[in-house]
């Protein structure tokens, strides 16, 4: 019986994955039917995976306010970023934002993750791999990301974010510093001190190290959390960059154990390492496949 259950699960998930299309504005994985069991809005613990919202900051549609205007410095940074994701550069832009029609071969891309640098925020959260949430009393709230096996800590002990001279002395870091608190039924997280070498998303939208990330996490049903965020970065964007609503669905306990289907199993180690990715893959596959042997 267990075998049949597992089979049905695999089939369902496989078809869901196959239905995702080609990546042009591809949504996250389809959500399962709603679970109407009662829930505690203040309990975000569990393992969650993306099921709704775009893969970019928002849908980044042209002719809308989705993408705020760049400052001159922002435009310069945007132009300097050469993503390997999206439609190839040179194709008709059509109804896409120019930021989504400028992909180059990975060998020519300067996407920091191709050299296994950290994704930073919010890009890491936009990744499609699961994330586990677990609060540690009223001290900290942890997010453990499968991709990169990265543990993000959000301070919930009432401390303030560094600012001014203190922040300047600390300097930027790949994931900055985050504090969180409950505001009604929303878990509100603010982050500063993010290194400007990371990109906001796979399409290469830039940010400065003065960027502020303001997130709200809301559990809206037993098995769904909604995530919204706003990026305020006047050095790069003339107005705040506001996300669409991303949703996360709770993984069922059995999904975590079925052959490690989406689990955090050690042997799989979702890591990008210099020894494998840069020294071997990039040199023997990625670069020659993209530009030929030099």
């Amino acid at each position: 019986m267990k075998w049949i259950t597992a089979t049905i699960f695999i089939l369902g998930l496989s078809i869901s994955l196959a239905a995702q299309g080609t990546g042009r504005g591809r949504p996250a994985r389809p959500a399962p039917p709603p679970d109407n069991r009662p829930f505690d809005a203040h309990d975000l613990s569990g393992v969650w995976y993306r099921t709704g919202g775009d893969r970019g900051v928002n849908r980044e549609r042209p002719g809308t306010t989705d993408v705020p205007s760049f400052t001159p410095e922002g435009q310069k940074m945007f132009d300097a970023n050469k993503p390997a994701r999206g439609r190839p550069i040179g194709e008709p832009i059509g109804n896409d934002h120019p930021g989504r029609v400028r992909a180059v071969v990975p060998a020519l891309s300067n996407d920091p993750i191709l050299l296994c640098n950290p994704q930073g925020l919010p890009r890491l959260i936009l990744d499609e791999e699961p994330v586990e949430f677990f609060p540690l009393g009223n001290q900290r709230f942890f997010q453990f990301f499968q991709w990169g096996r990265i543990l993000r800590e959000i301070w919930t002990d009432g401390r303030k974010l560094p600012e001014g001279e203190q922040l300047a002395q600390l300097g930027p870091s790949w994931f900055g510093m985050s504090v969180g608190k409950w505001d009604g039924e929303a878990f509100v997280v603010d982050t500063v001190g993010l290194d400007d070498r990371t990109w906001l998303d796979i399409y290469g939208f830039p940010h400065s190290d003065e960027m502020k990330l303001h997130e709200t996490w809301r559990r809206v049903s037993y098995d769904v959390i909604e995530w919204n965020y706003t990026i305020t970065d006047p050095k790069i964007y003339k107005t705040p960059f506001v996300s669409d609503t991303k949703s996360f669905t709770r993984m069922k306990p059995e999904d975590l154990t079925h052959a490690g289907w989406y689990g955090f199993d050690g042997p799989w180690e979702g890591l990008c390492t210099y020894a494998d990715e840069v020294e071997v893959f990039k040199k023997t596959v990625e670069d020659p496949a993209g530009v030929g042997k030099k």
Partner: protein
């Protein structure tokens, strides 16, 4: 047993339809010619490198002049291939294999992305891309 075999086939067919929807490090279509029919390579496995986020299969293939050319082929991630039932011993060094691959867009470059790999018995031991050109996007 028959029902089990049928369901197994259905699983495999369904899984084969999947792209690299998860755990994708970067797009593949932009480096490889996925718009045209894949090419078939017959060769010997030189190395099967089981690593995240990209597994690599190296095979030695005789070219038309009889020279041995080592092809480096991009595979899926460990995570995705494990989900499909493959592992680090699915292909072994020294095995004769037939690899159906989408080649690099750069002419005369011995690189490609795996569509599927079979043994001389016809057993398919790896599957990544669809056999149908143009069925995957660039991302």
């Amino acid at each position: 047993v028959k029902a089990k075999a049928l369901i197994s086939g259905a699983i495999f067919a369904a899984v084969s339809l999947c792209g690299t929807a998860v755990f994708a490090h970067h797009g593949t279509g932009i480096s490889y010619d996925l718009a045209h029919a894949p090419v078939t390579l017959k060769g010997t496995v030189a190395e099967f490198r089981w690593a995240n986020p990209h597994v690599i299969l190296y095979i030695d293939v005789k070219d038309k002049n009889g020279n041995t050319v080592r092809w480096a082929l991009e595979g899926n991630s460990i995570v995705n291939w494990t989900r499909r039932g493959y592992n680090r011993t699915s292909v072994k060094v020294g095995q004769e294999v037939t690899a159906v691959v989408y080649p690099s867009k750069v002419p005369n470059t011995p690189n490609g992305v795996v569509a599927h790999v079979t043994l001389p018995t016809g057993e398919e031991v790896l599957r990544f891309q669809s056999d149908t050109p143009g069925s995957r996007g660039v991302d």
